[in-house]
């Protein structure tokens, strides 16, 4: 962790980069340039150390033993929850549930909140730009309940069709589930505005925040959503850990989802009573090291400052966008006015997979495919795109080095 060194026009990112051991490796004999943080970010030393230290010194099960180690492990686990509660400005720790990731968080809401509530003919509203993890759980619950899935269209520039939203928020709409930042095209959605519209109509809101957390300072109370899902590994934390934020009144009224240890108060064969929040939704031994690692990731991001990260990434986004446009035949897919540093593009006559394979040989890791957003990619009439996603450790120099590699790949393929 380091202070922010500034140069004239942008951050000198080398101090931040030094926090990420994986960035020192080479690929095919070339220095790794990691442009795939939207798939999963690299981890800073602070996260690796926190997890390593836990296993080396404090490993014990949480909330169970009276022995010292168990107490210390519980303290570390709950300190992580407290840190994350503050990180997203939830009202209390009871509103922050550890899950396996954003996908599990959304499934939890679909099954434990929506399924008991939805009636045949009710509607769940999502958008064309959702990740499959914010489509399939709703399709499943619609099949189970007879509710109907409705879709907010996406405009050619990658923004939500806001004009369509009022008509889609009907009396039958019970839930609005929307991505905060698009993992495929980078669009930052006007979530405060949409949550306000939903609230005025008594519609429950869930935001998929997986891709927002690494880029933006997220304040769930200011946004005004009912649920917010978080993935650890997209925000420089471990895989297999995430969060569900839920307003306490809603979580309290929900039945448990998974049954097992930890989530109970008393068990008899006649009747089991359930634990209070958040334990009610955390059956079984949790991913303790993961939670501690995620807490460390939040602390790391705070130490750099999310505003400073956003400023650096916006600079990268603008630079990359203008440089990519110099490549002949290249078209950027999704040019929303408010964007995070995620850029999808296609090159005329070039299949994205071929492009990804060739630039890999020069050390550049980009993602190619549908990015788990098949309906969105189809909406743009494409089978796939190439995606360059920039994280806090990427630099202008890396972008500049990418352009000739891209041109070379194009020359080989066209």
């Amino acid at each position: 962790m380091s202070a922010i060194p500034r140069s004239d026009s942008h951050f000198d990112v080398s101090a931040w980069r030094a926090d990420f051991p994986a960035l020192r490796r080479t690929v095919h004999g070339k220095p790794l340039v990691y442009f795939d943080s939207a798939a999963t970010a690299q981890r800073p030393l602070a996260v690796l150390t926190a997890m390593d230290q836990f296993y080396r010194q404090y490993n014990a099960n949480v909330h169970r033993g009276v022995h010292t180690l168990s107490g210390e492990a519980t303290d570390l686990f709950e300190q992580a929850r407290t840190r994350l509660t503050r990180h997203i400005n939830a009202d209390s720790e009871r509103e922050v549930i550890f899950t396996r990731g954003s996908t599990e968080s959304i499934n939890l809401v679909a099954q434990a909140y929506a399924r008991p509530k939805l009636q045949p003919g009710d509607q769940v509203l999502i958008s064309t730009m959702e990740h499959h993890s914010n489509i399939v759980p709703w399709q499943m619950v619609c099949e189970q309940t007879g509710a109907e899935l409705k879709i907010i269209p996406v405009l050619e520039n990658g923004e939500l069709d806001m004009q369509a939203v009022p008509q889609l928020l009907t009396e039958r709409t019970k839930i609005l589930a929307l991505v905060h930042v698009s993992n495929a095209v980078g669009t930052i959605n006007p979530v405060r505005q949409i949550c306000r519209m939903a609230r005025e109509r008594n519609i429950t809101t869930l935001l998929d925040g997986a891709q927002a957390m690494p880029h933006l300072a997220v304040d769930v109370q200011a946004i005004g959503c009912d649920f917010y899902s978080v993935s650890g590994h997209k925000m420089y934390g471990p895989t297999g850990i995430g969060l569900l934020y839920g307003r306490e009144a809603l979580l309290d009224a929900m039945p448990p989802w998974h049954g097992g240890g930890e989530m109970i108060r008393t068990v008899t064969f006649e009747k089991t009573t359930y634990n209070d929040l958040p334990a009610k939704f955390e059956a079984g031994t949790p991913n303790i090291a993961g939670a501690i690692g995620l807490g460390a990731a939040a602390a790391y991001l705070q130490s750099l400052g999310l505003e400073a990260i956003a400023e650096h990434e916006q600079h990268l986004l603008e630079h990359a966008t203008s440089q990519l446009k110099q490549v002949s035949g290249l078209r950027i897919v999704g040019e929303a006015r408010h964007k995070a540093s995620v850029i999808s593009f296609v090159i005329d006559g070039v299949h994205p997979h071929d492009l990804g394979t060739i630039v890999d040989h020069d050390g550049f890791a980009i993602r190619t495919g549908h990015h788990c957003t098949m309906p969105l990619i189809k909406r743009f009439g494409l089978p796939a795109t190439a995606r360059m996603s920039l994280g806090l450790y990427n630099s202008v120099a890396e972008i500049d080095a990418f352009i000739p590699v891209l041109k070379k790949a194009r020359a080989m393929l066209v």
Partner: protein, 139 residues
């Protein structure tokens, strides 16, 4: 005795030996892909589509007695290039020739990375489909 399939593999390995760095190797595969004959649209069906490939791959096997002729194409050039190599090796062979062969050229060309099930370019799926066609004929 060298079989026809082994000989076809050896020919490809020999051709690659003349190529320099990876750029030339990929350029060669890309050029093979560019010259591969496309399938007619009516054969690009869901049935003929191979799964396990991130790019789209369609494979058709025509049989004449024990002999199998393969035709295939992908929407990605590198994959089409790999298909072209596979067709040189396996198309027009008998099912016995295919079933008793081993795809050792993959390792020799340094394409082994492409074979692992977790790699998504589909070389493994294509090989599996070819060997399955050879077995299906015998059933």
């Amino acid at each position: 005795m060298t079989t026809v399939i082994d000989q076809a593999q050896q020919d490809i390995v020999d051709e690659f030996a003349f190529l320099g760095d990876w750029t030339e190797r990929y350029q060669y595969i890309i050029d093979c892909g560019k010259s591969l004959t496309d399938l007619p649209d009516e054969e690009k069906t869901e049935t003929n589509k191979l799964h396990g490939c991130q790019s789209q791959v369609w494979l058709v096997a025509d049989r004449d007695g024990d002999r199998l002729t393969f035709r295939a194409i992908s929407d990605a050039l590198i994959v089409s290039g790999l298909i072209a190599l596979l067709l040189r090796i396996y198309s027009g062979r008998t099912r016995q020739e295919i079933a008793s062969s081993r795809p050792w050229f993959v390792e020799q060309l340094g394409l082994k990375d492409h074979l692992s099930a977790t790699r998504s370019n589909g070389l493994a799926s294509m090989l599996q489909a070819i060997y399955q066609h050879a077995e299906a004929v015998s059933a």
